[in-house]
Each structure stands twice: as C-alpha cells, then as structure tokens.
Symmetry: C2
DNA sequence: TTTGGCATGTAATCCGTTACATGATTAG
DNA sequence: CTAATCATGTAACGGATTACATGCCAAA
C-alpha cells in the first residue's frame, strides 16, 4: 500500500461531523464500508494517537461518558489532509485472488475439485447479492441522508461485481465440463459463440 | 492471509513439469496469472530456499546453464502439499478497495472529484478488457495445451468483472448527477426502476 | 458478586515491498 | 571494452493481523 490509508478512513468518518471514539469508528466501518474495507483495533488505536499528535484530530472530553473513553473531532488541518487525499487518484489495487489461483492450477488435481470451488464461491456470491439488496432497501428508508447517493453507489458496486462473478462461475463450470468431455476443439467453438456476450 | 500462498504458486508452476529457476518462475507468474496475482523477488528467492530445505522442491544442476543459476523440480512431497492445498477451500478474500473509499467519502469534496475518479477508473477497466480479449485470442492459437481451459476461465473472470465495473461506473455517474440535480427523491425513483437490472 | 460484554490499548509476528548489493552475460 | 540487461540474492522497512493484557460496566 505504501500509503497508510487507515488515517484517511478515520478522517473521513470524523469529517461527517459527530465526534467519535475509536470503538465507534470501528463499528461504523463495519456497518457502512464493511463490504469493501476493514480495519483492526491494532491498527485503529495507534493511528488515533498518531493523528492527535499530528494535529489532524483532537480529543473531546465527553462529560456524559462515565468511562475514560475519549471522542475525537477532526481539525481544520485534518480536513485539509483528507481533501488532498480525496483529490488524488486512487492507486491501482494489487489483486491477489487465491480462488483464481486454485482454479488456474486445477489441472493438478482434476476437474471435480475445481468445480467444487466454483460452486462454493457462487453460493457465497449469491448470498452477498441478497444481503446487498436488503441493505439497499434499508438505506432507502432514510431519504433525508445527504450522503445517500455515496452509500448507494458503493453498495451497488458490490452488487454488480458479485452478480458478474456468479455469471462467470456458471460459464466457467460449463466450459470446464465441455473441455473435459469433448476436448479443446469444442471449447474453442463454444468460446467463439460466447464472444459478444462480453464487451 | 495467514497462509503463505507464495509457496503454492511456486509448487503449482513446478508441478507443470519443466524445471524452472526463480527468475523464470517470476516471468511465468507475470505472464500467466499476472492479472490476478503477483510475487516479488524478495518473496520468491527466500521461499525457494525454504521449500528446498523442507524437501518440497529440489535443485537440478543444469549442465547447459553457464551461470550459477539453479533450476528447481518439484518432489513427491511437494506434490502432496500442493494437492492438499488445492483441495482446501479458498479463504474468503479480504477486500480493501481504495477507490470505493474515495467514492464513499465523496461528499466531503463534492461531485466533480468523484466523477473524475469514476471516469478514470472506467478508462482503466476498458483498457483491461481490451487486453484480456487480446490475450484470449492468443491463448486460442495454441489449442493443444492441456491446461487451456484453466487459463481461459481465469482470464474470463477478469473480463466479466471489469465489464461489470464499467457498467457500474456508468450507472454511478448517472446516479450521482441525478441526485445532485434533482435530489434524493428522484434518485430513489430511479433506483426502483433499476431493480431488475440486477439479480 | 461474578460473569460476560464493552472498550482501549500493546506486543509479537507475519507477510510483502523496496532498496540495495553484486556478479554474469550479451549487444554495440 | 563497456554499457545494458539478466539473474540472484539480502536487508530494511512498513503495514496489518492476532494474541494478549487490562479495566469498566451491566445484568443475572
């Protein structure tokens, strides 16, 4: 990564206005961006201290809180740092897809194993899509949220990608069986027909 | 990860038969699985030594090689290790999508920035799709490869996902503009219509 | 009052990239 | 002969997860 993205996630949530504790930030992450981002406590708490020292956030003494928990608020400098990060183009993500690796090396163990992998993955993706659809309707129940679009479109990214993967899994299953039963010639013929289904 | 996948990539390529040097393995990775996997030398070379000590691979003295380079061959134990790994279900990948993070926090900097991110990403995906399509036709030029299907379907995963992301970027662009110009009510109405485009 | 969950943190560890060092080979 | 490229490695560093330690609070 080389970028220490954790800090910007923190700044991003604090920029929404409400002062938050580390624990609350973590809960928010899981709830709102959990489908494409995650942070562990071991990352979060040290980072909060670092950001405080750097002057990007400040602790707010909370009279209501009975416990020693501090809430943080973003500073002007913090907002500036967040904004310049948001303007910068996102670095292209390094993909490392272990499932695809197992599929790619499938020839070493034969067809059945690979088909199982595909099926298991497809089930997970199907479940994800259902969850996302459900989440979307929950989001739409609060039409006054000013950042509704942003939540919606990131969520729909998940739906689009999962849906595509499901269709891929079906296609891959078919192609695998075809190649096993009728060889590469049949596979190639089928692929020619499939051109056009994809851009 | 917790899994040290690097070793299995090495074993996977050596299982294809030909003895390979570290450098050659690296080249193969870039060439064949580069679109969903990557390894650095700093990872690869130490791992080759570790696998040798563990008895999973063995160095082959190459009479032809003028230089001190050693090629490696997989052992029976190595094959066993590879197979059990291949049988194990792939752990669900931890996603960390920085682009989506920037989109999600888009409200902090406003619409134009987010639209730029989307457009830039869409261009990259479009280029990827073109590359993949080209690669596919190159693969089909060698119909005798016994592992052709496996290469093909992993490649097509890339095409499916990139294509989906392109369509998502278009949709997201439209929704963002709609919400900015006509508010959440219009956004929600549009989303109702879009249900059905996705599973 | 003790158990379990809330909350905050630190330490160990792992995985991976980057940078550095070095030699061997080939092309000009 | 010299520069560029091929090839192999090591060291330093950084980011992230996991495990551990600890204390507060609420409910049984």
């Amino acid at each position: 990564m080389a970028e220490k993205t954790t800090q910007y996630v923190i700044l991003g949530f604090l920029a929404q206005g409400a002062p938050l504790s580390g624990y609350e930030i973590r809960k928010l992450i899981d709830l709102t961006v959990g489908h494409f981002w995650n942070e562990s406590f071991g990352q979060l708490y040290p980072e909060l201290q670092r950001l405080t020292k750097a002057g990007f956030i400040g602790a707010v003494a909370d009279p209501k809180s009975t416990r020693g928990r501090a809430r943080y608020r973003i500073t002007a400098a913090g907002k500036r740092a967040l904004h310049t990060w948001l303007e910068r183009p996102a670095p292209q993500e390094r993909v490392r897809n272990e499932l695809l690796l197992k599929v790619f090396f499938g020839i070493a163990v034969g067809n059945a194993t690979t088909l199982t992998h595909l099926q298991r993955a497809a089930e997970r993706w199907r479940a994800d899509v259902a969850t996302f659809a459900e989440t979307q309707s929950q989001l739409l129940a609060e039409p006054d949220a000013p950042d509704l679009v942003y939540s919606i479109i990131t969520l729909r990214h998940g739906r689009w990608v999962r849906a595509a993967r499901m269709r891929w899994a079906e296609e891959a299953t078919e192609l695998l069986q075809l190649a096993a039963q009728r060889g590469n010639a049949a596979l190639i013929a089928r692929l020619r027909k499939l051109e056009g289904a994809l851009p």
